[in-house]
């Protein structure tokens, strides 16, 4: 098996464009959540908060590449460009069939899908559909748009597993490079805000509804007053590279990916379950050939839902007890859905680099049903060598990944 390292990262997040904006926002305890005035017209929508990302500089992407991109694909293309620049890789210098991308999302562009159905259902005139509309709506829209924009000709794949999409992308990229089939893969995910997206959680009572007038107070992962998740948007892309390939070009290495696992719960489509989370994390640690004591930091999935946070806390408690520090970044940036795994992994890697762990924003009082694990309430400076990233998704999908600092 080949070794797989991370040599670049790019982010478009609710805290701004670039990894620096993301980390500055997290370090300063900034919330990107705001009241969504424009959603007031939706009958039956109880949650009116979200964490939008700013769309800017999109016209730097040539029109003929941009026309097939919905909002999330533009985020993905910009994050991929950042990641590529960060890695120092020049695509023309790479063997063309050995470099590709794996980028996941919940669906294609939610905004574009909505527009397409407005035409199909109300105007009933197919001649009004722009030629590129379908390309914005496809499930692999972000992956294929990034590949077309950058001219990638190796593997091009999309992992569509809702909120676990981007961590599955990174995990799948790790397995493909480890198997020797590719040298470099841009891996991550993208998703975008739309009333239908928040609505999908709202109808099953998973959104935050009590903080519409105080948006910075929600979501509240692991907190006693948590009342649901807040949707965000953006994209996170990491450059995964075969270790020897990275060494040959003297690349900066953020970390080595040493373990990955994904599994289904087989029990419920919307409620996560501690038993299957334990199975997923245990499998990841086994794959990484490490014991639970070696994990220095757990970047939790914890979205602030009443049910999900409880199950994740129980699973972490079962494996780690009160040892490894745990925090969630959803309080700062909301739940960036299919992008969350990659965006939060990038943030965790930067915490590892700086030797500081940032606490869970809005965690003021630990909920009794989330006790027994090492919650961080304040920033902690410590040597971090090994991190665990969790992601769980609708459909009973779990994913977890272990990264280790290169010595």
């Amino acid at each position: 098996m080949k070794r797989v390292v991370i040599t670049g990262a790019g982010v478009i997040s609710p805290l701004g464009s670039g990894v620096r904006s993301l980390m500055e926002g997290i370090a300063s305890g900034t919330s990107a959540v705001r009241y969504m005035e424009e959603w007031a017209g939706y009958c039956g929508m109880n949650s009116h908060v979200a964490a939008p990302a700013e769309m800017k500089d999109e016209k730097k992407i040539p029109r003929q590449c941009r026309r097939s991109m919905g909002r999330m694909s533009i985020f993905a293309a910009q994050a991929a460009e950042q990641a590529l620049a960060d890695s120092g890789i020049i695509i023309s210098e790479v063997q063309p069939d050995r470099m590709g991308c794996i980028i996941g999302s919940t669906t294609g562009s939610a905004v574009s899908i909505s527009k397409a159905f407005e035409i199909m259902l109300f105007q009933k005139d197919l001649s009004l559909l722009p030629s590129s509309m379908f390309f914005q709506c496809m499930s692999h829209s972000a992956a294929m748009n990034v590949a077309q924009y950058l001219g990638l000709t190796g593997y091009v794949m999309a992992t569509s597993a809702a909120c676990a999409s981007s961590l599955q992308a990174v995990g799948t990229g790790y397995e493909i490079i480890a198997s020797g089939r590719q040298d470099i893969l841009l891996c991550g995910g993208a998703d975008e805000l739309h009333p239908s997206v928040t609505g999908s959680f709202d109808v099953v009572f998973a959104t935050s509804v009590k903080y519409n007038q105080t948006p910075n107070k929600t979501p509240r992962p692991f907190d006693k007053d948590r009342d649901g998740l807040v949707c965000g948007e953006g994209s996170g892309i990491l450059v995964l590279e075969e270790y020897e390939h990275a060494l040959r070009r003297n690349a900066k290495i953020y970390a080595e990916i040493t373990g990955y696992n994904t599994c289904g719960s087989g029990s419920h489509i919307s409620q996560s379950e501690d038993k299957s989370i334990v199975q997923c994390i245990s499998g990841t640690l086994k794959n990484a050939q490490i014991s639970y004591e070696e994990i220095d930091y757990i970047n939790a999935h914890a979205t602030g839902t009443v049910q999900g946070d409880k199950e994740e806390a129980a699973a972490i408690k079962h494996i780690f007890g009160n040892t490894a520090p745990v925090s969630s970044l959803k309080g700062h940036i909301g739940h960036t859905l299919g992008a969350s795994g990659a965006i939060e992994l990038i943030a965790a890697l930067h915490m590892m680099e700086k030797g500081v762990i940032y606490p869970t924003f809005n965690l003021d009082e630990i909920a009794p049903d989330c006790e027994g694990i090492n919650h961080l309430m304040e920033p902690v400076e410590k040597e971090i060598n090994t991190i665990l990233k969790n992601c769980f998704a609708f459909g009973g999908i779990n994913a977890a990944l272990v990264c280790r600092k290169m010595k």
Binding site: R63, R67, L128
Partner: protein, 84 residues
């Protein structure tokens, strides 16, 4: 509708739908080689012209012969004159 109006409306389509600067919109400009449109763009061009001029040209055989902006001006002019 006079010829100048046809030119202005057509050029506006190219500016708004295809982000092409005004000074590149010369009558002799080839829509593929000079203005950079491709086969997918032609689908959107036809839709935009239909909407802008209130005509139905999707199944017109003559659309296939269009190469330059002047060809479009002439084509629209003919269509309008024939009362499509």
């Amino acid at each position: 509708m006079n010829e100048q109006e046809i030119i202005d409306i057509t050029n506006k389509v190219f500016e708004e739908s295809f982000e092409i600067e005004k000074d590149r919109l010369k009558p002799e400009a080839h829509i593929f080689t000079d203005l950079g449109l491709d086969s997918l763009d032609i689908v959107d061009l036809v839709a935009a012209l239909q909407k802008s001029f209130g005509v139905n040209i999707r199944n017109e055989e003559k659309v296939r012969n269009i190469r330059t902006l002047q060809d479009i001006y002439d084509f629209i002019s003919t269509i309008k004159r024939e009362g499509h």
